[in-house]
């Protein structure tokens, strides 16, 4: 939910219209502020704060604050990408299972890399990356497509037109491919963390089925370059 702008704040309560209760949008009054989770902000002495931050702090004394969603965490170890990925892995709202699978995956990656690290000779030790978070982020970055295709119907025929992708869409596609690949193309008895860790390590090294899928998409976009002018946005 975006924070209401200054112009919106100067408005009083939203006009109450009979029989029109917003169901999907925010039920909060515009005067409510977002919760602040960053510990450093509160520990900074007041002289060092910039002007806007001083204003925000003063507002907090008078305005009510929205309830913090369960995904918002003040832990130093929380990572928004990992949370997003965990949410995409979740089925039927079983966040406990999804989170435990994610932590087992990270542990599996760490174990594999540490074993390789300890067996490697001295000069190669620096090249081996053991941090599962760095591997995860780099693997996702490697899997993100640069350009996508979308179906545009013109004159009765549907064409695959190359189209630029937003950052969010790229991230979503990378995560979706990763999860579907791990769910479908594995042996019945392999566990998800094991398969996921394998795919992440392969993606980190720019190899594996997901990178291939990305290349196929790029080739498709390149092949249909002629239809690029069909796009009107």
């Amino acid at each position: 939910m975006a924070a209401p702008s200054a112009a919106g704040l100067s408005r009083r309560l939203r006009a109450w219209l009979p029989r029109m209760m917003p169901v999907r949008w925010s039920r909060y009054d515009p005067s409510y502020l977002e919760p602040e989770v960053n510990k450093e902000l509160y520990q900074k002495p007041s002289e060092k704060l910039a002007e806007e931050e001083m204003e925000q702090m003063e507002l907090k004394a008078v305005r009510p604050i929205k309830a913090a969603p369960p995904t918002l965490s003040s832990s130093v170890f929380s990572d928004p990408m990992i949370s997003k990925f965990t949410n995409m892995m979740m089925k039927n709202g079983n966040k406990v299972l999804a989170r435990s699978l994610m932590s087992q995956t990270l542990e599996a990656i760490k174990r594999k890399q540490l074993e390789k690290y300890h067996k490697a000779p001295e000069n190669e030790k620096e090249t081996i990356e053991c941090n599962p978070y760095i591997i995860f982020h780099q693997a996702l970055k490697n899997c993100q497509p640069i350009i996508g295709v979308s179906n545009i119907t013109k004159g009765g025929k549907t064409y695959q037109v190359p189209v630029p992708l937003t950052d969010n869409r790229k991230r979503f596609l990378a995560m979706k491919w990763l999860i579907t690949e791990c769910r479908e193309n594995k042996h019945r008895r392999t566990m998800m963390p094991e398969k996921l860790s394998q795919e992440l390590l392969q993606a980190f090294n720019n190899e594996g089925p997901i990178i291939k899928k990305k290349h196929v998409l790029h080739k498709m976009a390149e092949a249909n370059r002629a239809y690029a002018h069909f796009r009107w946005w």
């Binding site: 510990k39 832990s75 170890f77 990270l106 760490k110 174990r111 300890h118 053991c130 941090n131």
Partner: protein, 382 residues
């Protein structure tokens, strides 16, 4: 055999004293939370909170079974086996060193909340005893004998009892690995007949009984019963000391989830393995000690908040084990936590960049509550 008396280990490095690291090998100085003393007999309060190394060959010989699964994974990842020296273990070792073996065997029961380190303390004591040359009877988890058993045979020795060939043969295999030399030295004192043809004469080494149990899986439970009986009878006069180490002793008294062919429930005394083990855990023999652990994690029909001996053993078990020496095992003290955290950092187990900061350490301590198992689980993905 090493004789300790009251000899204090002079090369102990405490953080108070500035003794230079004399017996450290010249490769690199180990940090303050390690100790080079790999013989549990020499561990004293100076070593409390420190981690000592067990060489990998010794791990394979002494612990063919018995180490927790996560610790085995850790050994494989770090390529070394480091066990922390903690207060309950030191207490137990002091009792064992000062015990009089002409008296009946004393029973020690390690109890505590989930994940506080009871099994690891037991393994520390088992390592000490095997270093001292004792005969170690280590049952890794008694709960495995009262649940999830695929094959239950009616015992040929006693019509009312039920045999468990698979569990008995697995245990015999591991017992053989850990106690090779004793199986050659101890001789049987009676003639035993297995089935129709095979017999074991009097005076044959006990290794033959074990081999018989492994070869003929149907008679494995009876072979195990014979082994236990022989060892118990010979412990007081022989040259060896006996340690009976049972993990999850509360499984022996209670209920099982096994059923007979006619779907009637099986009670623990109807199982040969449990029946023989109960005889071992009584204190009517001399020349050794019995160290046991209570465990709620594998237990059956016990609430998850139960951890005291009274709750987990029940009336029957408590009366059978009474009198015993209870030894509580608690969470990490601040010093032990520092030492564990430092070890994870040194071994590069904590990879997250925030885990190296003070904030990260405080968060780990808070989230785990200084519980060893929780700390291990939290530090896994980090």
């Amino acid at each position: 055999q090493l004789d300790h008396g009251c000899a204090l280990h002079t090369a102990a490095r405490g953080c108070l004293s500035s003794v230079s690291t004399q017996d450290v090998p010249a490769e690199r100085p180990r940090a303050i939370f390690h100790t080079n003393e790999s013989d549990p007999a020499k561990h004293t309060e100076h070593h409390e909170g420190r981690l000592y190394n067990i060489p990998l060959e010794e791990v394979k010989a002494v612990f063919p079974h018995g180490l927790p699964h996560r610790f085995q994974q850790q050994i494989q990842t770090f390529n070394e086996a480091r066990v922390m020296v903690r207060k309950p273990a030191l207490e137990l070792l002091a009792y064992l060193k000062g015990s009089n073996f002409a008296h009946p065997a004393v029973r020690y029961v390690l109890y505590g909340e989930r994940g506080t380190g009871k099994t690891m303390t037991l393994c520390h004591v088992v390592h000490y005893c095997s270093r001292q040359g004792w005969l170690v009877l280590h049952i890794p988890d008694a709960h495995l004998w009262v649940k999830n058993c695929k094959e239950l045979l009616q015992s040929s020795y006693n019509k009312d009892r039920l045999d468990q060939p698979l569990q008995a043969s697995v245990w015999l295999k591991n017992f053989k690995i850990s106690n090779e030399r004793f199986l050659r030295e101890i001789k049987t004192q009676k003639k035993y007949t297995w089935g129709k043809q095979e017999t074991t004469e009097e005076g044959r080494p006990l290794g033959e009984v074990v081999d018989q149990g492994l070869a003929r899986v149907r008679s494995a439970s009876d072979a195990m019963g014979v082994v236990l009986r022989e060892i118990k009878q010979q412990s007081h006069r022989s040259s060896f000391r006996l340690l009976v180490a049972v993990d999850g002793v509360n499984a022996l008294w209670g209920r099982t989830t096994l059923r007979k062919k006619d779907k009637s429930p099986v009670s623990p005394e109807e199982l040969t393995l449990v029946h023989n083990l109960r005889k071992m855990v009584t204190n009517d023999w001399r020349g050794g000690a019995i160290v046991t652990t209570l465990s709620q994690t594998g237990s059956l029909f016990k609430p998850s908040s139960a951890y005291t001996p009274q709750e987990l053993l029940g009336k029957e078990g408590f009366d059978a084990l009474d009198p015993f020496v209870p030894i509580p095992v608690s969470n990490y003290s601040p010093r032990e936590f520092e030492s564990c955290y430092g070890y994870y950092l040194e071994r590069k187990w904590l990879q997250h960049e925030k885990a190296h900061t003070e904030d990260g350490k405080a968060e780990l301590q808070f989230l785990s509550g200084s519980n060893p198992q929780q700390l291990d689980r939290l530090a896994g993905p980090l």
